[in-house]
Amino acid sequence: MASRRKLLLKIIILGDSGVGKTALMNQYVNKKFSNQYKATIGADFLTKEVMVDNRIVTLQIWDTAGQERFQSLGVAFYRGADGCILVFDTTSMNSFASLDAWRDEFLIQSSPKNTENFPFVVLGNKIDLENRAVSTKRAQKWCQTKNNIPYFETSAKEAVNVEQAFETIAKSAIALEKEEIYNDFPGDIILDRDNKPNNGAACNC
């Protein structure tokens, strides 16, 4: 039922200023890297159509301003988000330490139905740089404590892991979407009972 409709997923990228949010978005959507971006003011977005689980999905990726004072303006951008990408800079301890606040703030502001299982993914960006400050172990540990958020180490510059990270968030956003559809129309479950085992993997409709 839902699959026939064109699926639009809103993904928000959050993280401190200068961790590479805009660069990651552009690397993913346009396959380009430039170190000549203006600081993002307010928010900007790009869209990309992708195939996930045999379905065409439009990802609407929102790039936000990272400076702390813009955080309170997030409400407008967070509205109706289907997934959230948290980015830190592997060469900056502070940007990693801020993840907690970004995640909390996002959950408070967007108040999604399902706080526990809301799709997040954490990206440690700029692994192409030498002066690393946050170890993989440490980042992984943090992700584990937050309900096992998938963690990727990326380089927007060298296109490392970018594709995978966005695919992951798209998949988990779709998974949640499905779950919610069933939650919204409990009657449907009975009709679909025979198909139910397949639903998790692929859509038969």
Binding site: V29, Q36, D44, Q67
Partner: protein, 1104 residues
Amino acid sequence: MWVEPEEVTLNAFWETERKSLYFLLQRRVGHGGQADPKLLSFWVKKFDSITSRRPPPFRILHQTPSSNTYHQISVAMTWGEIDKDWSHLESLLECDSLPEDEVTGYILTKIKSHLVTGPVDPALQNINSEGGKTSFISREADKFRKLFNMPPEETLVAVYLCFYRKKWLYSGTMYLSVSHLCFYCPSHIIVIQWRDIIDFYKSYNVVITIKKKTGKKFDFICYQRTSEIFASIRQLVNLAMKQCINETSSFKEDSDLLHKSSINVSKKQTFLKRDLDARTESETYRLLFRLDSSEKLDGMITACLHAPFNRTLVPGVLFLSQNYLCYESKDKGLLSLVLPLRYLETAEKGELQIGGRVCDTNVLIIKIPKQQFMFTNIQDLDFLIDKILKLSSKIKRAKHRYTPFPSIKKENNSVSLESISDLNWSPAPALMEMFESEKNETMRKLEEEKYQFWLKHFEHYQRGVTMYRTFAVGKLVLRGIPDKLKSELWMTFSGATNLLESKPGYYKELVNRSIGIKSTTNEEIERDLHRSLPEHPAFQSDVGINALRRVLCAYAIRNPQIGYCQAMNIVASVFLLYCSEEEAFWLLVVVCEHLMPDYYNKKVIGAIIDQGVMDCLVEKYFPSLHVMLEKLGMFSLISLSWFLTIFISVLNFSCAVHVVDCFLYGGAKVMFQIALSVLELNKEKLAKCEEEGEAIQILTDFLIGVYNEEDPVITPHKHRMVHMTISIQKLLSMAVSNYTEINLQYIENLRLKQRLKVVRNLEDSLIRNVVRSILADGYFKETELQDLLQLVREEQMNPRRKQPPVDNESNDIVPLQLPYETIKCDFELFHMIFTIVSPWATTESTVTHDIAVRIFRLMDADDDGYLNFRELVSCLGLTCSASAERRLKLLYIIHLPPLLSKLDIGSTRSLFSESDTDVASEAVEFFNDQYSEQKINTTTLTTIPEQTNNSSQQYSSDDVPGDVRSISSFRSLLTFSSQQSGDTKPLPAMDQIYLIELLHTLNFILSKQDAEEQNSDLMFFVSNILHAGKKTNNEEIESSAISEKKNIDEAVQDSLSISADLFLAEISKYASIIEVFNERVDISSKISKYNEKRFRTIHSLSNL
């Protein structure tokens, strides 16, 4: 003459002269009527003389509709007088259509109001001129404080008589003070904080409605001086909102206000009120002429300016302030002038000749180098000249007039070699001169053409700050300012020249101070230097980057309220392209502080306010579009990047610069005009959108497609397709001509209204976020936390309180703060709240104070003298809502060293005199295996409340390391006791002296309960615990003495000691005590009780 309404009966003594629906005008028989029956007249006269009543011969009665009840409301000796009252009544009912059954109430209260307003008015006027100290005002102020239980710092601004409407009208007094609106009548007492108001408006000319954040509305009916009352309310609300925005500056602003008022007391009008009026006037004046925020208007006078360019006299107003003489034509926008007094050569009386003929001999002639200005038709010319000369003699003369005319000489390009921390920096010239953009032949020609236009304009209207500013300038600006003149004209129009000239050397000093500072702000700036205008070659080189760094860092030092906000980098880099470094700095100052007030501060409030303004404007101009955009939640999305960067980040460069031309000339209104035009042009497309992304896409595509007619090459966008849409010239002229009503004052009015909403929303969302972020700690319910936070916030705003220091200068680079970390509470405030809320506290008791000190220190994790909100909640939670076991543990801990030191005990009851080290050692040893001989610095503990800052430094400098560690272990024992109780070490044992203190406190807490059972239980407990302590202790001492080869005698001195477990086990045997500690305290009710008490009133006015 109005009289106290009095019920009367109709009788034959009175002849009805006029009659209307509700009123009768009557004449007493025998007074002037020709047709009166003779006999009756005689009798009435006789009767009147016998009773010596002699009522006035005319009266007006009010008839209650459909009844025979009449009230006499006015009497008069003459026909003229009564006729006046009659027509007043008629006009009164014209404007108000009331249901019949309310008419009588309405009219009677209204008459009463006329009665009361009468005598008060002259009183208000006379008071200050009489100069008496116990004036009416100070009496009223006294009354105000008593009636509403206001602290003495709460300054009264004005008092008015009015009515409160609530079903019925209640006549009473309205008191306006710096932070409250209060109303008193015997049956109603209303206290409203300005900060709590979300809306206020005037209707039917006399009704002022105040809407509180709770949604509750209050209607006040003011028949007299309505607009004055409304204006006062407006000023005070605005002031309160501005204080909320700049939380830290509130104190400064307040004292300024109070100080000024004391100077003005001797003047005629009411004290503070006059001052506020002056403020408002000065603000309008400054906005109008783009003057510095310290400029205060001295006076205004009408005058005609002689306009030499067309030889006419233009009527207008002269404004005089400390540093400027300004002029604006009556016909707004036609002609204006700014004359800085620092240029002044002479101001004298002279004559004006037009065409060789003397027109006027009473002319003010102002001479500045190379220019003179003539004003005629000035009333008090000699006085004015005197005043001008007096003011100008106080000013430091401009040593040299800043001359932008010769283009800044090209400096050698070697500047680029400097390093970041080099003190020998030299300011960069306009970067365009070094990195000239390529221009083709036609573009160059167009530029030259424009340049010539401007030169011709200067010939007519003069050049520089003192130019005659006319419509013609506006038109030229709209066509665009040629690159060569950009810096000069930007500086002139924006008012930045005035700032620069009045503070020579200031920029250099700031830069020198900023060099080498490592702070969060500077780190943020550093990160964004290459992300400002990366596409421009000037910012791919060190010259541009270093100049940008200096400008931004210098600004951050100038204005710590703002520091650095993203978007400033983009704006500043555009300035740097055309202007010298110092000029760019001052332009940035003008933008951040005058043109876009509060835009870049820590909460970007100005930008949010202007989003609201935009919202109002769209609603006004495109109602249907407004509905749709609102549904998509778009306002916050679009205007942010548009406004914050003055469209620079959304338009292509050559168009954006053109917008900057218009913006610096026309001010903030230009941005709204452009934004509205953009929406107008895309109205149809937008109407079809179903989703926000789509709508934003449309607008983004449109904006990047805007091109410059003179430079038609569009630079391709980084990641979007570009289609040309409209030329910037067309867009701008459309914007300016279609939305002419949007002027400065209009925007300011809308901003004021929005400020109310925004401040309220921010406060609400702050409270919501903070509460949610700590709800999981489980101490209190959501509503309780809200109440508590509300109380903390209110107290923080209280001008009496010291503001927590803003650590802008701190060198620490901190990660993003969690919501609750932003709320800080010093000891004073904590003590107050603890006293209000906690069951362990009573007012004014040293024990409460001691407990509070120790709990405060225990919970202040970062030891900075402030508790964040979460810590505060833990403190209160542990005494109000935690389990008895945890509460008792807390009680035990706060009686252990180092929280409780022997010195403290000694000072209160000098029982023990031994050195403290032994006792402390046990605790320290417990946490720190390498026990050191250092003494615990006990003095610090007692000093916490008095000097939090100093003491916190003291801790860090000479504290025992084990001390801090032990406190933090105590803390984690308490806060995480439920989760980690398994793997923490047990609490150390407690020695006798501390135990006695503990029991003392315990007694204090229980004594609040007034119950026999507990008292007797406590007695038993005390004797048992002492006994048990002795027993276990003796065993321990022996064993430990043996193992450590200590002197047994010495050890036995402190013979009594108990362990935490023993203490808890013993006490839990007494159910009545445990019950006390298990009792859940409802803090909401405690807080509301406190709030009630705060505004408790004395009901009998006679006491005053």
